[in-house]
């Protein structure tokens, strides 16, 4: 052991007060900054607790209880409207179908996301082929004796999850094809893919949604009508595919040349080379990037409000603006807080998951 290594760098056994002093009050200037920040935190926490708990209204059957000048958060607005926020106008007697769909999704997703669970391929096939069919039959009905529930009745969190998951599932294969096409040796294929990707990435999602909602019906033969939800889904999937393609292209570029050449040497054709050798490695590398794209897609689903679909944010906004029964100065803040909390939990969980995958990949690279 050299003398260098014996110098204690951080003494874990130091007393708590000393550690706090070192972290927060090392110099006069730092102490002033710390004090300012402490008072800021104190103020924010106090204001929030005061609003959400102390001055909050917890029971009542309409907005009149929340109209008192000193009232804080209007929680009965959330509890009374919970059904609408979660399921939209989905008929109450049929809500078990939505919940069953959630259970089926969780049954497939949980083992898929946990590391170490075997048969990932089988599970992926279930999630990509069996589950969507089951979910469609369950949610929409009109088959197997289930009464039909039109998509115009879907709303709230249900619609958010439907748009996000269909958007993800549909844009993923398109994204892979676009990424492959952009790296193709065939110039026309490459130009077409590059043009599409750059065009879509250069415009806001709002304009793509407008296009899907207004122009898509014009593109189709005059006698074909297309469901409003389906239009939004087409718009979201086409938009998201361009972003996914760029993420996947990054993965394709990171695969060493030798892998391509080895596949060629084995006599594999283009599709088998890509499907069996290159893509499995490329997609594994970019999983964190893909999850990040999914988080943006999930947040972006709220934009369907602009073309008249009511996802979670849309339906909260509608209840805040248009429900005279619950009108009060605190209704908007409470509703937004609820919607924000739900979105935050979903997105934060996904970003944590992505970060843990990233760490795992990094470790694998080092060992």
């Amino acid at each position: 052991m050299s003398a260098m290594e014996q110098i204690p760098i951080a003494d874990a056994s130091r007393r708590f007060t000393t550690r706090v002093q070192a972290a927060l009050f090392p110099t006069l200037a730092q102490s002033l900054v710390s004090l300012a920040l402490l008072s800021l935190i104190g103020f924010v926490v106090y204001a929030f607790v005061d609003w959400a708990l102390i001055r909050a209204v917890f029971s009542g059957s309409d907005g009149s209880v929340c109209r008192a000048p000193s009232a804080g958060a209007c929680w009965p607005f959330i509890t009374h409207k919970m059904g609408v926020f979660l399921y939209g106008r989905y008929p109450e007697a049929e809500i078990w179908r939505v919940n069953l769909t959630y259970v089926l999704a969780l049954a497939g997703l949980t083992p898929l996301m946990l590391p170490g669970v075997p048969r990932k391929l089988l599970l992926s096939l279930y999630m990509l082929i069996v589950f969507p069919a089951l979910a469609f039959i369950l949610l929409r009905g009109g088959l197997l004796g289930l009464p039909l529930v039109g998509t115009e009745l879907w709303g709230g969190l249900l619609l958010t999850l439907v748009i996000a998951s269909v958007g993800i599932a549909a844009s993923f294969p398109i994204g892979i094809l676009l990424a492959l096409a952009r790296r193709s040796d065939l110039p026309i294929v490459r130009w077409a893919a590059t043009g599409y990707i750059e065009l879509v990435r250069g415009v806001p999602l709002v304009t793509v949604l407008f296009m899907a909602s207004v122009m898509l019906p014009l593109f189709l033969p005059p006698d074909v009508t297309i469901d409003k939800l389906l239009r939004a889904l087409v718009g979201v999937a086409l938009f998201s595919a361009a972003y996914l393609a760029e993420v996947i292209r990054g993965g394709l570029q990171a695969i060493p040349r030798g892998q391509y050449e080895a596949a060629d040497a084995l006599g594999l054709g283009y599709w088998r080379k890509m499907g069996l050798v290159v893509l499995p490695q490329a997609i594994r590398i970019v999983i964190p990037g893909l999850v990040n794209s999914f988080i943006s897609l999930f947040k972006d689903t709220s934009l369907v409000l602009i073309i008249g679909l009511f996802d979670l944010i849309g339906i909260v906004e509608q209840s805040v603006q248009a429900d005279a029964k619950w009108f009060s100065p605190q209704t908007a803040a409470t509703g937004y807080f609820f919607a924000g909390a739900v979105f935050w939990i979903f997105c934060f969980a996904m970003s944590r998951y992505s970060a843990s995958l990233e760490r795992k990949l990094e470790n694998r690279g080092r060992s």
Partner: protein, 398 residues
């Protein structure tokens, strides 16, 4: 080589041979793609034409010169309901550019501050910055805009009970009312002196920078040069004081009158866009600062630079090379996200043109194509500008 290729191409082959020839395959495959794309395009054009005919909509861009007939709440250029649809397009475009440009400036300043705070030795500062980023990044921008607009700015008291701010400004539910400076006869001189002082300071700074080892290189010299920017216009102001008048917003019968009023829609969009983008920029700045090798920080410390000097003179300039490309993406995102203005009624390009004009004229195809083309042009121009900036900061690569 080429000759060989041509010969191989011309040689007679069996069908099986041809089917496995990569060149033949390339030609066939791409021809098929072109044919499929052409068929799809023709189908779309024919269907659209048929649908438009059925709805009695004449296509074309003549509608742009027709009278718009609607008012817009905020406009940088002269516009009235008698202006044309093309005028409305311009108003929307300038409003989008205004909020995007201001948003980019604020988001950059805020994002750099938060990104640097993330790496602060002060535990509270770094954790507070982390909480900000995690809170803001994981909530949809649309919701944040609604919060700023409906729950914060529209929740302010009516004009009669407006919140008084320093310098005679007022904040109420109709927006922010600021005192406005009006330059009369001496105004031009004042503006000229400001511009002249900035030009002089910029020139002196360049001179000081180029003179690498001379006495000019002193940083206090640069500071003095920039002090000129403050002093010269101040002297000019003293001279012209008689000609500059300040119009304070005063409470009229229903609303504030005089001064400069900023609409709450604009404020909400600006605050929402810049605070949201700042969270993403701060992560980029943090990654950029961490990307500078440790040795650079240690070398700066060994030279006796303080932490602040090391950051400004050694770390940040090198980090900028890592930061600039993703920063460009964030600027583009902010500009594209400004289209969410339509949700809170700020008259941006989408809300004025794809919203009101589309509804009034029914020219869906033309309106949406123009909107998309404008955004594409803005994206390309920003990317071009930032690539030039990037080329300048990346020069020291060896």
């Amino acid at each position: 080589m080429n000759n060989d290729r041509a010969k191989r191409w011309l040689e007679p082959k069996t069908w099986a041979e041809a089917a496995y020839d990569p060149q033949v395959r390339a030609v066939v495959f791409q021809s098929l793609l072109v044919i499929v794309l052409l068929i799809a395009a023709t189908e779309i054009v024919l269907n659209t034409a048929a649908n438009l005919k059925k709805q009695n909509i004449t296509s074309g861009f003549e509608f742009l010169s027709r009278t718009a007939g609607f008012d817009v709440s905020q406009s940088l250029i002269p516009y009235s309901s008698k202006s044309s649809y093309a005028g409305a397009l311009l108003v929307g475009l300038t409003n989008t550019l205004l909020v995007a440009a201001l948003g980019i400036v604020i988001a950059t300043v805020l994002g750099f501050a938060i990104g640097i705070a993330r790496l602060s030795p002060n535990w509270l500062a770094s954790k507070l910055a982390l909480s900000y980023v995690e809170l803001v990044r994981n909530v949809p921008l649309l919701l944040q805009l609604l919060v700023w607009y409906v729950a914060v700015l529209r929740a302010f008291p009516p004009p009669a009970e407006a919140l008084g701010l320093p310098l005679g400004a007022h904040l109420d539910k109709r927006g922010l009312h600021l005192p406005q400076l009006t330059f009369e006869h001496g105004g031009g001189a004042l503006l000229l002196s400001i511009l002249g002082a900035i030009a002089a300071a910029w020139f002196l700074t360049r001179l000081a920078r180029q003179d690498r080892d001379g006495a000019w290189k002193h940083s206090s010299f640069i500071a003095a040069a920039w002090a000129l920017v403050g002093i010269v216009p101040f002297l000019a102001l003293l001279y012209a004081a008689a000609y500059v008048s300040v119009a304070y917003p005063t409470l009229g019968r229903f609303n504030f009158e005089g001064g400069l009023s900023i609409e709450p829609e604009f404020l909400a969009l600006l605050i929402g866009l810049s605070t949201y983008t700042a969270a993403f920029i701060s992560e980029i700045v943090r990654a950029g600062l961490l990307g500078v090798p440790r040795g650079q920080r240690e070398a700066a410390a060994a030279l006796g630079l303080t932490r602040r000097q090391a950051l400004r003179l050694v770390i940040l300039p090198q980090a900028m090379r890592i930061i600039t490309p993703p920063l460009t993406n964030q600027y583009l995102n902010l500009t594209k996200n400004s289209s969410l203005a339509v949700a809170i009624g700020y008259p941006d390009l989408v809300s004025v043109f794809s919203g009101t004009v589309l509804n009034q004229t029914g020219q869906a195809v033309e309106v949406i194509l123009i909107t998309m083309a404008v955004y594409l042009a803005i994206s390309l121009a920003t990317a071009l500008f930032m690539n030039r900036f990037n080329a300048r900061t990346a020069w020291a690569e060896r």
